[in-house]
C-alpha cells in the first residue's frame, strides 16, 4: 500500500512512537465528528489510540487583535462570534468586564433580561450538543428532535435580539431592546412544553442500552486532571466538583434564584452527559423564577456609553458560566478609544487540552465519544 511519506509540518513533527505496525491518521480538519475544522493527529495500533495531538487554528480569526483595533463599542459583534452556540454568554462576559472597568451600573430589569436570555441560550446550546453528540455516536434521529425544540428558542430569541445565532444583544449598562410581553408569554408557554419533552428524551435516548454502553466508563477526566488542565463547566461538574461561576463568583442577580448545580462523581462521558441534561432543567427553573419576578424599569442605563466612548484606564476581569464552562474576559485599557488588550479565556480551549491525556489507550470510537462529551465549539477554541 502506499502511505504518503511526506506529511505537513505537524505530521512530521508528530513522530510515530517507533512501535511497529502503527498507523498515523489525521482526524480532521474535515471529519464528521470534530464538528468544524479541528484536526487531531492520532497514532493508532489497530483500533487503539496510542497517542494523539490536537492541531488548532483552522478558524483562527484573531479576535484579540481585532479588539485592539476597534473601539470599545465596535467590538461588540465580535463577542457573539466567538462561540456561536452560546453567544449571549460571551456578550455578557464582555459587557461585565467593561462595566466593571468603567463602573457602569446596570438597571435591575436589564439584569433579569440578561439572565432570561442567557439561560435560554444555554438551553439551546445544550440541546444542540445533545443532538450532535448522539450523531457522533451514530444515532441520527435525536438531533432532529433537538433542532425542533431549539428552533422555538431561536425564534423567541430573535424577537428581542434580532438575530438567530450570533447575537449582539447586550450593551454596556443593559441590553439593546426590552423584552416584549409577547416574548414573555411565549416563553412561559415554552417552559412546560420543554419540560414535558425531557422525560421523552430520557426514555428514548438516555435509557438506551447501546448509548449507556458507549458512554459509561469512557473518558475519565477526574478532579485532579481538571485542575491541571483548567477544565471547567460540565466537565468539572461531571468529575463531582460543584464548580459553577454563577455560584462561585456570583454575578448579576443569580444569587436571587434557587437552582442546583448538578454534579456526578463518575467523571466519565456519561456523567458529563447527565450534567448537561440536568442543567437544561435547572436553566428552565431559573428562567421561570426570573419571569415571575422580573421588575419594571429601564432596560438600559442612562449612563450607558455612547459610540465614541473611551473607557477609563485600568484593567478588569469578568467571568460568566457559559454552556461549555468558564468564560473570562480580561480587558486592559490605557484610557484610549480602543482597548489596550482584550484576552478571551475560552472554556473549550482548556477542555480540549486534556483530550490527549484522556484519549490515550482508548478505542477510536471512544475517542469520538470523549470528544463529543467535551462539547467543543471550534471557533471558540481558535478564537
Amino acid at each position: 500500500m502506499s502511505v504518503f511519506p511526506k506529511g505537513d509540518f505537524y505530521t512530521r513533527h508528530f513522530q510515530p512512537s517507533g512501535k511497529e505496525e502503527t498507523l498515523v491518521v489525521n482526524m480532521g480538519p474535515q471529519h464528521p465528528s470534530t464538528h468544524g475544522v479541528l484536526r487531531i493527529i492520532v497514532e493508532l495500533d489497530g483500533e487503539y489510540i496510542l497517542r494523539c495531538e490536537p492541531v488548532l487554528g483552522y478558524v483562527h480569526r484573531m479576535h484579540e487583535k481585532m479588539g485592539e483595533n476597534r473601539s470599545w463599542v465596535q467590538y461588540w459583534p465580535n463577542t457573539g462570534r466567538v462561540d456561536y452556540l452560546h453567544a449571549l454568554a460571551w456578550n455578557w462576559a464582555y459587557a461585565g468586564a467593561v462595566e466593571k472597568l468603567a463602573g457602569i451600573e446596570v438597571p435591575e430589569r436589564a439584569e433579569y433580561i440578561r439572565v432570561i436570555t442567557c439561560e435560554l441560550n444555554r438551553v439551546s446550546s445544550h440541546l444542540l450538543w445533545w443532538g450532535a453528540y448522539l450523531l457522533d455516536l451514530g444515532a441520527f434521529t435525536p438531533i432532529m428532535y433537538a433542532f425542533d425544540d431549539r428552533e422555538e428558542i431561536m425564534d423567541m430569541l430573535q424577537m428581542p435580539t434580532g438575530s438567530r445565532l450570533t447575537y449582539c444583544y447586550y450593551r454596556f449598562g443593559g441590553v439593546s431592546a426590552d423584552l416584549s410581553d409577547e416574548f414573555l408569554k411565549r416563553l412561559s408557554r415554552f417552559i412546560p412544553y420543554l419540560r414535558s419533552r425531557l422525560p421523552m428524551y430520557r426514555d428514548l435516548v438516555t435509557e438506551n442500552v447501546i448509548l449507556r454502553k458507549r458512554v459509561e466508563d469512557v473518558g475519565h477526566i477526574d478532579e485532579d486532571m481538571c485542575r491541571r488542565y483548567g477544565c471547567t463547566g460540565p466537565v468539572v461538574r461531571g468529575a463531582g466538583v460543584a464548580y459553577d461561576v454563577r455560584k462561585a463568583e456570583p454575578y448579576s442577580v443569580y444569587d436571587r434564584f434557587d437552582f442546583r448545580i448538578p454534579t456526578y462523581p463518575e467523571a466519565d462521558a456519561f456523567a458529563r452527559y447527565m450534567v448537561r441534561m440536568d442543567e437544561i432543567e435547572e436553566s428552565l427553573k431559573i428562567i421561570e423564577q426570573a419571569i415571575a419576578t422580573i421588575p419594571d424599569g429601564p432596560y438600559l442605563s442612562k449612563s450607558a456609553p455612547k459610540p465614541k466612548w473611551s473607557a477609563p484606564k485600568g484593567e478588569a476581569c469578568f467571568a460568566v458560566e457559559g454552556a461549555r464552562g468558564k468564560i473570562t474576559y480580561y480587558v486592559a485599557s490605557d484610557g484610549g478609544r480602543t482597548p489596550y488588550r482584550v484576552k478571551l479565556r475560552s472554556p473549550s480551549y482548556c477542555n480540549l487540552s486534556c483530550f490527549a491525556e484522556a484519549a490515550k489507550g482508548v478505542i477510536l470510537a471512544d475517542a469520538v465519544s470523549i470528544l463529543g462529551s467535551l462539547d467543543l465549539v471550534i471557533p471558540e477554541i481558535d478564537r
Binding site: V3, L23, E47, D136, G138, A139, M144, N208, I210, R214
Partner: protein, 333 residues
C-alpha cells in the same frame, strides 16, 4: 477421456427452456434490483423523515417521489475519481465485485409457487456462498483506495462479517435441519399460511439470531461499523465518487432485500398467506422486515467495535450452537 458427449453440464440449466427462464429471470432481476433500490431509498428517506418528525424528500415531483431518480442521475453524471496512490484496477474492481453477486443471490428465491428463476436443492447454500463476496468487495475497496480510513474500515468489515457469518449459518442450518432440505421452495411449501404454522413459531431464537446477524452482515445500523461515518468518515468507501459509491449503495440495498427475502422464506412462510398464497404476500413480508431494519437504523446509536465482537462471540455464537443442538435433539426424539 472423451468430453464430446457431455450433455447436461450445469445442474441449474439442463434444458433450453430453463436457459430461457434463467435469461428472462436475470433480466427481470436486473430491473427489479434497480427499481427496488430506487423505491427503497425513497422509502428509507420517508421513514427517516417520519421518525424524525420532518417531511423527508418533498421538492422533486409530488411528495418527492422523483428525488431518488434525480439522485441517481446525479451519481451517474459525476466524475469518477481515482485517488492518487491507489491501485486503480482493484479500486474499480471492488464495487463490481460487491454488486454482481447480488444477482446470483436472487436466483433461488421463491417469490411465488411458480414465480422463481431457478429451483435448486442447495438454494440456501447458493445465497450464503455468494453473500460472502460482499465482504471481499469491502476489503478490496478499503485496501485499494490507499486511504487509512478505508483500511480501518476494511479491517472492521472482515472481523465483523467473518464473525457474524457463523451464527447466521448456524441459525439457517437449524431451519434446514428441521426441514431436512436446503431448498427454499420446499421449506416454504412445508410451512402453512397462518403465522403459527411458520418456522418463526418453532424457531424463534433462530429467527432472532438470523435477523441480528443479517443486520451485521449488511452493515446496517446499529452495526454499520465498516462505514461508521462519525468515526471513519465513511470507512471503506471514503474515496469513492459517482457510480463507484453508487454501486456500493445499490449493493447494500440489494443485500438488504436478499437477507429479508431469505428471512421471509425461511421463517415467515414465504409466499404462503392466510387468504391466497402468492408473490404479494412474499413482497409484503419482505417489505415489513425492511421497514423494521429502517426503524432500527433511525432509532439506535452505533455499537462500539469491541462490543460488537463481544455480542457475537459471547452471545450469538453460543446461543446459535445451543439452538442447533436443541433442534437436532428434538428431531431425533
Amino acid at each position: 477421456m472423451n468430453i464430446s458427449n457431455w450433455t447436461a453440464p450445469d445442474p441449474f440449466v439442463t434444458t433450453p427452456d430453463m436457459l430461457i427462464r434463467l435469461v428472462v429471470g436475470l433480466l427481470a432481476l436486473a430491473a427489479f434490483v434497480g427499481a427496488n433500490a430506487t423505491i427503497l431509498v425513497y422509502v428509507e428517506r420517508k421513514v427517516a423523515g417520519f421518525i424524525q418528525r420532518r417531511p423527508g424528500p418533498f421538492e422533486v415531483g409530488p411528495q418527492g417521489i422523483l428525488q431518488t431518480i434525480a439522485d441517481a442521475a446525479k451519481l451517474i453524471g459525476k466524475q469518477l475519481v481515482t485517488p492518487r496512490g491507489s491501485d486503480g484496477f482493484l479500486f474499480w474492481l471492488a464495487p463490481i465485485v460487491g454488486f454482481l453477486p447480488v444477482f446470483v443471490m436472487f436466483l433461488p428465491i421463491p417469490w411465488g409457487e411458480s414465480t422463481y428463476v431457478v429451483q435448486s436443492d442447495v438454494g440456501v447454500l447458493l445465497i450464503l456462498a455468494f453473500a460472502g463476496f460482499g465482504v471481499l468487495s469491502l476489503c478490496l475497496a478499503g485496501w485499494a483506495s490507499a486511504s487509512k480510513w478505508g483500511l480501518i474500515g476494511a479491517a472492521r468489515a472482515v472481523a465483523q462479517s467473518v464473525g457474524y457469518e457463523i451464527p447466521l449459518l448456524l441459525a439457517v442450518l437449524a431451519v434446514c435441519f428441521s426441514h431436512g432440505s436446503m431448498d427454499l421452495m420446499a421449506i416454504v411449501k412445508e410451512q402453512g399460511g397462518w403465522p403459527w404454522q411458520w418456522n418463526v413459531a418453532t424457531q424463534p431464537l433462530a429467527f432472532f439470531i438470523y435477523f441480528v446477524c443479517a443486520l451485521a452482515e449488511t452493515n446496517r445500523a446499529p452495526f454499520d461499523l465498516p462505514e461508521a461515518e462519525s468515526e471513519l468518515t465513511a470507512g471503506f468507501h471514503t474515496e469513492y465518487s459517482g457510480m463507484g459509491f453508487g454501486l456500493f449503495f445499490l449493493a447494500e440495498y440489494a443485500n438488504m432485500i436478499v437477507v429479508c427475502s431469505m428471512a421471509t422464506a425461511l421463517f415467515l412462510g414465504g409466499f404462503q398467506g392466510p387468504a391466497a398464497p402468492g408473490p404479494w404476500w412474499f413482497l409484503l413480508k419482505v417489505y415489513g422486515l425492511l421497514l423494521v431494519m429502517m426503524w432500527m437504523r433511525w432509532t439506535y446509536p452505533r455499537v462500539r467495535f469491541d462490543q460488537l465482537l463481544n455480542l457475537n462471540w459471547k452471545w450469538l455464537l453460543p446461543l446459535a450452537t445451543l439452538n442447533l443442538l436443541a433442534t437436532a435433539v428434538a428431531l431425533k426424539l
